[in-house]
């Protein structure tokens, strides 16, 4: 791989030990993936923020990089942490954990990283534009950036994203190159009338279509995984999709299929430039129903934990939630996970007061995937297919996948 003057200087240690280590990582990754050179990145999103995932070793490494003069060269934001940074105590987080988590965030802050901890950076001031080269970790955001925005990023891990932040570069391979962004398989989806746009406005059916997008992401993702190679699907038959629907779809297809990029004609910007491949797979309503059922095994009586916000809730979703909880009282532990800037808007609009008066709790800066909640609950009700995956795998909870409005009802129901 060819390095320019600036990159060579970093590799030779002229910008300090942290930039050197970062450039060593990128140089090696570029070599193993056959990159010809590097490309400057304008935006970085770092994963590996929760102390629950990092552990002592991760914290040591981040501290070493901060001590070594590491400094973000461009806009860099963080994935969710293991706790609400301002309100961890009331969520039952252990003080020792909180101390370590604070040190992690402090190390990032010393490196000039903006410590908004969210999986939806594109809703909180880190929004790249079409065709921009970026280096993002967080699989759902990677999928959203590549597909919905048309920016260009590989699926980075925590250290490789940090390395991009501290150098301002990423090796140019994979999703950064046009030839890897072409669809490899056409996926035909038959959208049933119940899920056409507008169905979600029916009384009691709010979020039905969003949940369906989560189930669809699982059904397609698992089929793609079954093909045994990395696929870029060209997905036909969807028509229209809202930001919230795409947000949940990206999370689901990335979780179950490892998908970095998809095209949807009429919805995503690169679809019109591409020709749908001849090779076609169909996803039937039965398969989507089966995907939903597989995540909904927990009966209502078992549910002792309710959560919305995977990926983090948009302000529109929080407004809806305030409407549903107005004057009500929840009877189950109910966590609402979102980004700090979104919570500030909710505060200003009075939504937060209504929601908190119901007994539901905001868990800002964090989420149910990365918070240390293993062993605390038995069964989770959520509208997120991705949350179900980590609830059952990492935390060993049963799961009950429901539309947004019904998740709220679950929290209100005595059982």
């Amino acid at each position: 791989m060819e390095l320019n003057f600036d990159q060579l200087a970093m590799l030779n240690g002229e910008h300090g030990p942290a930039a050197q280590k970062a450039m060593e990582i990128l140089d090696a990754l570029g070599e193993i993936y056959g990159a010809a050179d590097m490309v400057p990145v304008s935006s970085v999103q770092i994963a590996g923020v929760s102390y629950d995932n990092l552990g002592e070793a991760g914290l040591q490494f981040l501290t070493q990089m901060a001590d070594g003069g590491g400094r973000a060269r461009g806009l860099t934001t963080l994935n969710p942490a293991g706790m609400d940074v301002e309100n961890w105590e009331s969520l039952g987080i252990d003080p020792g954990f909180a101390e370590n988590q604070k040190q992690v965030l402090e190390a990032f802050a010393r490196m000039g990283v903006v410590t908004t901890c969210t999986c939806t950076p594109y809703l909180s001031g880190n929004l790249p534009h079409y065709r921009e080269h970026i280096a993002w970790a967080e699989s759902s955001a990677v999928c959203y950036a590549n597909s919905v925005i048309g920016a260009r990023t590989n699926r980075e891990g925590g250290p490789s994203a940090l390395a991009a932040a501290l150098t301002g570069y990423t090796p140019k391979y994979g999703m950064h190159l046009d030839e890897h962004r072409s669809p490899t398989v056409t996926v035909e989806v038959a959208l049933p009338p119940a899920y056409t746009a507008g169905a979600q406005d029916m009384p009691g059916e709010g979020g039905l279509r969003t949940m369906w997008f989560g189930a669809l992401g699982k059904a397609i993702g698992e089929k793609l995984q079954g093909s045994g190679k990395k696929q870029v699907p060209y997905i036909k038959g969807i028509g229209t999709a809202s930001l919230e629907e795409l947000k949940t779809f990206c999370a689901s297809i990335a979780t179950y299929g490892g998908t970095a990029l998809f095209h949807m004609p009429g919805i995503t910007p690169e679809a019109a430039l591409k020709t749908p491949p001849v090779m076609t797979m169909r996803v039937t309503q039965d398969e989507i129903d089966a995907a939903k059922r597989s995540l909904s095994a927990a009966p209502s009586e078992e549910v002792d934990f309710v959560s919305l916000g995977c990926p983090h809730l948009s302000i529109k979703e929080i407004a809806r939630l305030a409407e549903l909880l107005d004057g009500k009282r929840v009877v189950k532990e109910f966590w609402i996970t979102t980004a700090r800037p979104t919570k500030h808007i909710a505060d200003r609009m009075g939504y937060s007061a209504v929601i908190e008066a119901s007994g539901a709790r905001f868990a800002v800066d964090t989420c149910c995937v990365v918070a240390p909640i293993k062993g605390r609950f038995n069964a989770l009700a959520t509208d997120s297919a991705k949350a179900c995956y980590y609830a059952s795998g990492k935390n060993e909870f049963q799961t009950r996948l429901l539309p947004f409005d019904k998740v709220v009802m679950e929290a209100l129901w005595e059982g």
Binding site: I25, L29, E31, I32, L54, G55, A57, G157, P159, S160
Partner: protein
């Protein structure tokens, strides 16, 4: 016999080979305190990778695995070198941050457990 591959991370060390034909997930698959492989059903289950030249086809699992290698190194329980058929992101990044010599594109089926080998992470060679 000298096997020639590709240099991933620098350094030259001699050690005893520990060989598996299965992929390794460092996060969750290896105890970060002791270096013992804990993945159920793994060929190396119960064996320690500490102080060995660890030979395996390729890494797998969570990207947090890079930090596990770093933690092993700090606990004095890391392998002295890693030899892969094909190195991927997790192992590459782990070797760089933990400073463990690493070589890939080696025909690992020609290596056997217990052999003394010299891994040269600058030249990309394994000397048996």
């Amino acid at each position: 016999m000298v096997l020639r591959g590709r240099a991933i991370y620098k350094g030259r060390v001699e050690g005893e080979a520990l060989v598996t034909s299965m992929g390794i997930s460092f996060f969750g698959g290896v105890d970060p305190e002791s270096g013992v492989v804990v993945e159920k059903g793994h060929e190396l289950e119960g064996q320690s990778i500490s102080g060995k030249v660890l030979v395996f086809p390729t890494g797998k699992g969570s990207t947090v695995g890079s930090y596990t290698l770093y933690r092993l190194k700090h606990n004095g329980a890391a392998p002295v070198a890693i030899v892969n058929a094909e190195c991927e992101t997790i192992t590459t990044v782990g070797c760089i941050i933990a400073e463990i010599p690493c070589v890939d594109r080696i025909p690992i089926e020609q290596l056997a457990a217990g052999q003394r080998v010299i891994v040269d992470g600058d030249k990309g060679t394994v000397d048996v």
